[in-house]
C-alpha cells in the first residue's frame, strides 16, 4: 500500500509578483495601440523573426517529429515532476550545488537577497531571465540596497530607460536606435558623447560599459532554460556572451528557476536544443549555450546556488485542461505569429508573460479572478497560429476557451446588475422564440436603413457593448427586405418547404 498523505489539503497556491494585468486587456490595448512607433517596430520585428523561423524550420525534414518528441517529453516531465525534482536535487547537490525552494515570489526574493548579502557585496550582474522578471527581483534587491545590473543589451536598454520589456526575446524592440542612443547618452556616465545611433556603435558602448562590471563582479544571478534530472545539470541559452561572463567569472552564481524547467534526461537536449533556437531567434543555433553541474573545481563559480520557485506553477499544474501551458520553453514563437500581439504589443498584457502564452499562463498562475487577468483569455481571435508555431505543441486556443469558461463560471451565482450582454441575450431569446416576434422586429428594418444614412453604413451604436463593437467597425445598412419577407414573396403562402416548381 502506498503512503497516505495526512497533511493539510493544499488548495491552489497562486503566484504573486509581476503576473497581473492591472487594467483590463481592452483598456490597456486601447492606449498601447496609440503608440505608432511601437506598432511599427513590432510589426517589423515579428515579421522578420517569423520569416527567419520558417526558413530554418523548413530546413529540418523531421521538424514535426521533434515537436512531437518535445511535447511528449514535457508531458512526461510534468506527470512525474516530484520524482524528477528529487532526482535533480540529489544530483545537483552531490556535485556541490546548493538548492533552495521558494513557495512564491516573495520567498524567492528574500532568499536571493540574503545569499547576495552573505557575499558582502552590493552589486550583482544579471543574465536575462524571465523568472527573475516575474518575481520582481531587481526591485526587491534595490529596496535592500543591492544594485542589479542587467547585462543583456535589450534588458540594459530597458533598465536604463526605466521601462518595461515588451517582448520576451527582444525586450527593447519598442525602442528605435535614436531612442537607444538618447538613453545611453543620458544614463551611461562614461559614454563617448560622440556616440551615433549606429547599432554597432551602440552595442560597443554597452560592451565597454559592462566589461568592468563583468570582470569585477562577485555575484551573478541567472535564470535557466533547462534542468536535467538525471545529471543535475543546468543550462542557459544566449547570444551575446553576457551569459557566459556571468556564469563563468564571478565566484558566486545564484540561479532562479521555475520548477517546471525539468527535463527527465540529458539526452532530451537533442530535441530541445533543436526546437528552442529555431523557434526563438530563427537561428540554426544560438551563438552560446552554457551547461554546468554544481561546482567544477578550478573552473567557474565555486558557490553555486539554485532557487527553485513555485509561485503559481502548482496552481497551473492542478488544472488538468491548462497544465500543458507549463510546457512552455519561452521561445516567443507564439508572439511573433499572433495578430493581436503584433498590434497591441507586450505591455498590454500587464504580466511578465505577454502574447498568446501569457494570456493563458498568467491567469493559470494567478487564478482567473486575480485583478484584471480574467480579461486575458479574451485577448485572442482563436485563429490558432500560436498552436501551429509552438515547438512543444501547446494547444493555446483550446486553453483560452477553457479559461473563458472558467471566467464565466467564476461569476455565476453572484447577485449583480444584469449586464448589457444579459439584456441583449434576453432580447434575442424573445425575438427568436416565435415567428411572430421576429416578424414584428423585422418591421423595424427601414429604421436601420435610415440610421445608416447615405453611405449605407451604421457607424455608431449606443451602449458599451454595441458601442464598443462600432468603435472600430462599421455595420452595413440592413437590406430593404428581410429574408423571411423575400421567401414569402417568392413562395406560395402556406408552402413552407418547397419552391414554386416543386423541388
Amino acid at each position: 500500500m502506498s503512503a497516505v498523505f495526512v497533511g493539510m489539503p493544499s488548495l491552489p497556491a497562486y503566484g504573486i509578483g509581476n503576473l497581473h494585468a492591472t487594467e483590463s486587456f481592452p483598456d490597456a490595448a486601447h492606449h498601447e495601440l496609440a503608440n505608432d512607433q511601437m506598432r511599427t517596430n513590432l510589426r517589423h520585428a515579428t515579421h522578420s523573426i517569423r520569416d527567419k523561423r520558417l526558413k530554418v524550420v523548413g530546413e529540418l525534414p523531421d521538424w514535426e517529429d521533434l515537436r512531437s518528441a518535445g511535447s511528449a517529453t514535457k508531458e512526461a516531465a510534468m506527470a512525474d515532476l516530484p520524482a524528477l525534482l528529487e532526482q535533480f536535487e540529489a544530483n545537483f547537490t552531490a556535485r556541490g550545488g546548493i538548492i533552495h525552494w521558494a513557495r512564491d515570489a516573495e520567498e524567492a526574493n528574500r532568499i536571493v537577497a540574503s545569499l547576495v548579502r552573505e557575499q558582502d557585496t552590493e552589486e550583482v550582474v544579471k543574465v536575462k531571465s524571465m523568472a527573475t522578471e516575474e518575481i520582481g527581483l531587481n526591485d526587491h534587491l534595490a529596496a535592500e540596497g543591492i544594485e542589479a545590473f542587467e547585462t543583456d543589451l535589450a534588458e540594459l536598454i530597458v533598465q536604463l530607460g526605466h521601462d518595461k520589456p515588451s517582448h520576451i526575446l527582444v525586450p527593447a524592440i519598442h525602442k528605435n536606435r535614436s531612442e537607444v542612443r538618447e538613453i545611453f547618452l543620458r544614463e551611461m556616465p562614461d559614454v563617448d558623447p560622440e556616440l551615433t545611433d549606429d547599432p554597432r556603435q551602440l552595442a560597443m558602448a554597452a560592451r565597454a560599459h559592462l566589461r568592468r562590471k563583468f570582470l569585477s563582479a562577485k555575484v551573478a544571478i541567472s535564470g535557466a532554460n533547462f534542468a536535467l534530472a538525471d545529471t543535475g545539470t543546468l543550462g542557459v541559452v544566449e547570444s551575446e556572451g553576457n551569459g557566459r561572463m556571468c556564469l563563468t567569472l564571478p565566484q558566486t552564481l545564484i540561479t532562479v528557476m521555475g520548477i517546471e524547467k525539468l527535463l527527465p534526461q540529458a539526452d532530451d537536449l537533442e530535441v530541445f536544443m533543436q526546437l528552442l533556437p529555431r523557434s526563438s531567434t530563427g537561428e540554426r543555433m544560438n551563438p552560446y549555450t552554457s551547461f554546468w553541474t554544481g561546482v567544477t573545481e578550478d573552473d567557474g563559480p565555486q558557490n553555486v546556488h539554485l532557487v527553485m520557485v513555485d509561485n503559481g506553477r502548482t496552481a497551473a499544474l492542478s488544472d488538468r485542461y491548462g497544465r500543458s501551458a507549463l510546457h512552455c520553453i519561452r521561445c516567443s514563437a507564439c508572439m511573433n505569429v499572433c495578430p493581436v500581439y503584433e498590434r497591441t504589443g507586450g505591455h498590454a498584457y500587464g504580466s511578465t508573460y505577454p502574447g498568446p502564452i501569457g494570456a493563458i499562463l498568467s491567469p493559470l498562475m494567478t487564478g482567473i479572478k486575480a485583478e484584471e487577468n480574467n480579461s486575458l483569455p479574451y485577448a485572442s481571435s482563436l485563429c490558432g497560429a500560436c498552436f501551429d508555431a509552438c515547438p512543444v505543441k501547446i494547444n493555446i486556443p483550446e486553453i483560452l476557451v477553457h479559461l473563458r469558461g472558467e471566467d464565466v463560471d467564476s461569476r455565476r451565482g453572484k447577485p449583480r446588475m444584469p449586464s448589457e450582454m444579459d439584456l441583449m441575450m434576453k432580447g434575442a431569446q424573445w425575438a427568436f422564440s416565435s415567428g411572430t416576434h421576429l416578424n414584428l422586429l423585422e418591421k423595424a428594418l427601414p429604421l436601420g436603413r435610415l440610421a445608416a444614412g447615405r453611405d449605407k453604413k451604421i457607424k455608431r451604436l449606443p451602449g458599451r457593448l454595441a458601442g464598443g463593437w462600432t468603435a472600430s467597425r462599421d455595420i452595413p445598412a440592413p437590406p430593404k427586405k428581410s429574408f423571411r419577407d423575400w421567401w414569402a414573396s417568392e413562395h406560395d403562402a402556406g408552402d413552407t418547404g418547397t419552391t414554386k416548381d416543386g423541388k
Binding site: P61, A69, E107, A203, M245, P287, D299, L317
Partner: protein
C-alpha cells in the same frame, strides 16, 4: 511548520491527484547522419561562415603554420596546458614569449586574461547542421574563462570530431563537465533587429578544421 520544499512537493502531488499518464516519447526524429563525411565537413564550413566565423581547412602538417598566421597580430595569447606542443612546431611559435599557459597551480586571473588578445583551444565535438562547436573543459580546451575573455578565439576542430546532427553529438558529450556550445562569434539583434557580431564574448572566431586529426 512545513518547509518550502515539503510544501511545494506536496502541492505538486495534490495538483497531480488525477494521476496523469507518463507518455512514451516518440523518438522518430533523425538520429544518425545521412550525408558523406565530405559533405558534412562542407556543411560545417559553409554554416560557420554564414555565422561570420573565419574558417581554414588544413592538414596536421599545415596546422602550426595556420595558427601562426592567425596569431600574427596577437599581442599575447593563452593556451590550456593540454594543448599538443606539436601544434606550435613552427618557427614563429616554437619559442614565443607571447604565449602563456593556463595550468593547474598556475591559473591566470581575470585581469591577466583581459590583457591578452587571443586564445587557442581544441574542441570536443562539432555539429555541422547547426555549425556548433562544443568545448568541455578538457586539458586541451581549458577552463571556461580562457576561451571567453580574450577577444580572438582560435578554435581547432579535428575532422574526426565532426558529426552531422545534434543527436549524434550527445553520445560524445559528458554532460556533467562544464560545457560551452559555440555557434559563431557572439552577436546581438537587440536594436531594431540589426545583427551586430561581437558583443561580450570573443569578437573574432577563427576555426581551423584539421582533416587528418
Amino acid at each position: 511548520m512545513m518547509g518550502a520544499r515539503e510544501e511545494i512537493l506536496e502541492r505538486i502531488t495534490s495538483a497531480l491527484a488525477d494521476e496523469p499518464a507518463i507518455p512514451e516519447v516518440p523518438r522518430t526524429y533523425r538520429r544518425s547522419a545521412d550525408l558523406s563525411e565530405q559533405d558534412i565537413e562542407e556543411m560545417l564550413v559553409e554554416r560557420l561562415e554564414d555565422y561570420k566565423a573565419h574558417v581554414d581547412v588544413v592538414t596536421a602538417a599545415g596546422l602550426p603554420g595556420t595558427i601562426a598566421t592567425l596569431l600574427k597580430e596577437a599581442s599575447g595569447y593563452v593556451v590550456p596546458h593540454g594543448l599538443p606542443e606539436a601544434w606550435f612546431d613552427v618557427d614563429d611559435l616554437r619559442v614565443d614569449d607571447r604565449r602563456i599557459t593556463d595550468a593547474p597551480g598556475h591559473r591566470l586571473s581575470v585581469p591577466e586574461l583581459d590583457a591578452l588578445s587571443s586564445v587557442v583551444t581544441s574542441s570536443t565535438v562539432s555539429i555541422a547542421e547547426s555549425a556548433t562547436i562544443v568545448l568541455d573543459g578538457s586539458p586541451d580546451q581549458g577552463r571556461r574563462a580562457i576561451s571567453l575573455v580574450p577577444d580572438q578565439h582560435v578554435c581547432i576542430v579535428p575532422a574526426s570530431s565532426i558529426v552531422q546532427i545534434l543527436p549524434e553529438a550527445m553520445s560524445r558529450l559528458e554532460i556533467t563537465r562544464p560545457l560551452t556550445w559555440i555557434s559563431g562569434p557572439s552577436a546581438t539583434s537587440d536594436i531594431e533587429l540589426e545583427r551586430v557580431e561581437g558583443v561580450h564574448g570573443p569578437r573574432r572566431l577563427d576555426v581551423v578544421i584539421v582533416t587528418d586529426l
